[in-house]
Amino acid sequence: MTATKTAETPVALAGEPAVGLEQARAHGLSEDEYRAVERWLGRTPTFTELGVFSVMWSEHCSYKSSRRHLRMLPNKGPRVVGGAGENAGALEVGDGWVAVFKIESHNHPSFVEPYQGAATGVGGILRDIFTMGARPVASMDSLKFGAFDHPRTRHLLGGVVGGIGGYGNCVGVPTVAGEVMFDAAFNGNILVNAFCLGLARRDELQSARAQGPGNPVMYVGSATGRDGIHGASLLASAEFDASSEAKRPTVQVGDPFTEKLLIEACLEAMRSGAIVAIQDMGAAGLTSSSSEMAARGGLGIELDLDRIPLREAGLTPYEILLSESQERMLLVAQRGREAELAAIFARWDLHAVVVGKITEDQRWRVRWRGALVADIPAGALADQAPVYDRPAREPSKAPPRISSRPATAPAPPPAEALRRLLDSPNVGSKRWVYRQYDSMVQSNTMAGPGGDAAVLRIKGTHRGLALKVDSNPRACALDPYVGAAACVVEAARNVACAGARPIGLTNCLNYGNPERPEIMWQFIRGVEGIRDAALALETPVVSGNVSFYNETEGRAIPPTPTIAMLGVLEDAGRRVTQFFKRPGDAIILLRTAAPALAASEYAALFGCGAGALAALDLKRERALIEGLVAAADLGLIGSAHDVAEGGLAVALAECCFNPDGVLGAEIDGMPGGSGAEVFFGEGASAVVLSAAAGELEKLRGLFGGIEFSVIGRVAGEPRLRVAKVIDEDVRELMQIHEQAIVRRLAANG
C-alpha cells in the first residue's frame, strides 16, 4: 500500500494544456524558476502543479525581491511575543493582554473594482488577525488617490470608502483612524492599505503551525468559487497595463456577514482547545494556507478536493487550489474532536468539513476524483521560493518633485495662503470619509477619527491603546530614506501627542516595479529609513506587507511606505487631545529642526524654490516623544497637536476647532521670522502644546535639547491672530476646513 503510494505520480487531466517553459512563462515564472520547479519535482510538473508554483512563487506570496532586505528590520524587544513565521506579530500591552496588528495593501483590486476591492482588503486583514486568536478591535485605512479633479478620482473615492465602511461596519469592528491623500502621482495607481488591531490574552494566541500526523484538516466558511483565480497574487506581481483588463479574474465579492460569523465561531472554537493550527485562506487560498501550515510544522498534508465545498459545479483542481474566494479558513484539528468543532461552527450556521489530514512526510499532496493531481514538497511551496538580490541604483538625476511647481505667481499673503490650505482636500476635514465608518462599536473608542491618534480603552483595565497610520510619498519621493524614517517618527509622535508611549509598528511598503534598479534603490533606502527610526525609538517592527508593481503604463508611484504605530497609555484617563481647552493657557511650540517647504502642501499649491527636506535628528525625535509621554503622564498639558500637512499655521487653526466649543489663539510671533517656511513649512517634527502658565517651568524641564518656545496664549474669542499677519475668524476657518472635500463632491454632482 505504502509502496504503491510512493510510486504514484500525479496525473495530467483531460483537457489540460501541455506544460513546458512557454506555459510557465505565461504563468509569470522565469526560465530559471521553471527549471527550479522541475528540480524540486524531479519531473515535469502537471498543469495543476505549475499553477500552484506560479502563485506561491509570485512576488506577492513569496516576497522574493524584498525578503532579504526585510531582514534588516528590528523585530525584537521586551514586549514582543512569539513570532517569526506566524501571520502577524504580537506585543504585550500589559495586564496579560497582547496586541496583534498588521497592515496590508489591496491596491490593484481596488483600482479595478473600488468597492469590492477595498471591502475584501478589510476582510483579508481581519482574518489575518483573528486567525491568531485575537479579537479584532479596531481598523484603520491609509488611502492615496489621484488628483481630486482627475476624472476617475470621484468614482474611486466613493467606491473605496464605501467598501471599507460596508465591510467594516457590518463585521462590527470600529474604523478609528486613517489617512487620505490626493495627488496626481496616484492618478493611475491608487493605494488602499488596510490595518487591523486585535487583542488576545497572552495564552490565547493561536498557532499556524501544523502538528500531529494524522490530525484532520478542516475547511470552514464560504464555498469555493472561481473568484480571483490568479487575482490578488498575480495582479499585484506585475505592472498594470491595458492588458490587465483581459487578464481580469472573476472579481472577489466580500461577504461581511459570513466573516462576522467566522470571527465569532473561530474564536469560540479556539477556546475549546481542539484546534492545533489555523490559517486564513488569503492570497493563493487553499494552496498557501495548507502548504504553509504544513511547512511551518515540518510536516506534510494531504487534501481531498472532492470534499471542498464548491459554489458551482465544474471547478477543476487548478481552479479549486488557486481560488481566492473570501471568508474561508483552514484549520488542523485534534484527531477525534472533529465533531465537537463541527458543532461549534454549526451553532454559527457555518459548515466545517474535513478535507484532508496531516502527514509525516513533508509533502503537499492533493487528490481529486481518486487521482493524485499534485505531489510537491511542502517547503518548496511555502518557503523555498527563489530569493532575489535585485540590482539597485540611485537615479543619476534628481527625482521629479511630485506635484510641486516652481514658484511662478507671487505667493499669496499668509492669511490667504492659510485659507487656501485649509480648503485643500489634503488638509481639510476628512469627515466625509470617516463619518461613513462605524467608529464606536465595541464601546472602547475614547478618541475616534478627527484628531491625531485614535485612543481605545482596554475594558477591565485602566489602560489605553493609541494608534495612528502615516505616510508621506512627497517626502519619500525627494529622499526615500529620510522620508521613510520621518513617517515612523511622525506616527510615533502622533501617538505620543495622545499621551501614549509608542511600542511597536507595522508597515506596508508600496513601491513600483522592483525589476527596475532605481525602484529597488528606493525600496532599500526606505527599509533602511524604517530600520533606523524603529531602532532609535525602540519600536520593533512586528509585521508588514510589501506591495510592488504599483505602476501604470511604466509610471511608478512615488515610494510610499505606510507606517502604523501602536502606543500604550498606562492610564487611559490621562489621554490628551489636540484641541485647546482653556482660554489663558500658554501655547508652546516644540521643534526638533527648522521646517522646510520641500514636499509640503504649500509647495504643491503655490510652488516653492528648490530645497531639501528638513533635517531629521532621531535622537531629538526620541527626546521629543519621551517628553510628550512624561508631560501627559504628569498631567501637565491641556492639548498637544502634531504639526503636519499645512505646517504650523494650519496646526494652530486646527487646535482651535474644539468640537465642544471653538476657541481662539493669540500668537505674538513665530520663532524664526515670518517666511512662508515658518508658517507653512513641514517635515521638521513640531508639536503645538497648550498648558497652564503655572506649569511652564516644569514642562520646559521635560524637553531638554529641544526648541521650546512659548508663542502665545489661548483666547476665548474665536479669532486666530498671528503677530500682525493673520487675524481670522476661527469659525470661518473651520467652515472652510469642514467643506474642503464636501464642496468639491457637491460641485457638478
Binding site: V112, E113, Y115, Q116, S222, G225, R226, D227, R248, T250, V251, Q252, V253, D255, F257, T258, R311, E312, S325, Q326
Partner: protein, 86 residues
C-alpha cells in the same frame, strides 16, 4: 416611454444576498427553491422620439451608471407609451 432595467449579479460572482434569501426561503418551508439571485430593478420614464433611440439611451445608461460592469449583467425593456403599465 417606460424603460425597465434588470441588473443581476454576473454568473460565477458571489451573491451573498441571494444565498441569504435562499436559506431564508428554505427555512420558511418553501421547498424546491434554488439558484436565488438578488439584483436591481430600475424603472424610469424617458422622453425619446423612437423606441430605437430609447433603447440606445437605455443601453448607455446601463453601461455608464446602472450596472457595474465588473460584477453585474443587465438587460432592459422599453415600452412605448400606449402599452399599459406592468
Amino acid at each position: 416611454m417606460l424603460v425597465k432595467v434588470f441588473v443581476t449579479p454576473r454568473k460565477g460572482i458571489l451573491d451573498p444576498q441571494g444565498r441569504a434569501v435562499e436559506q431564508s426561503l428554505k427555512s420558511l418551508g418553501f421547498g424546491g427553491v434554488g439558484a436565488v439571485r438578488v439584483g436591481r430593478y430600475i424603472t424610469l420614464e424617458l422622453d425619446a422620439p423612437s423606441v430605437e433611440q430609447a433603447r440606445a439611451a437605455a443601453r448607455r445608461m446601463c453601461e455608464q451608471l446602472l450596472a457595474n460592469p465588473n460584477i453585474e449583467d443587465y438587460s432592459f425593456e422599453v415600452e412605448p407609451p400606449e402599452a399599459g403599465p406592468r
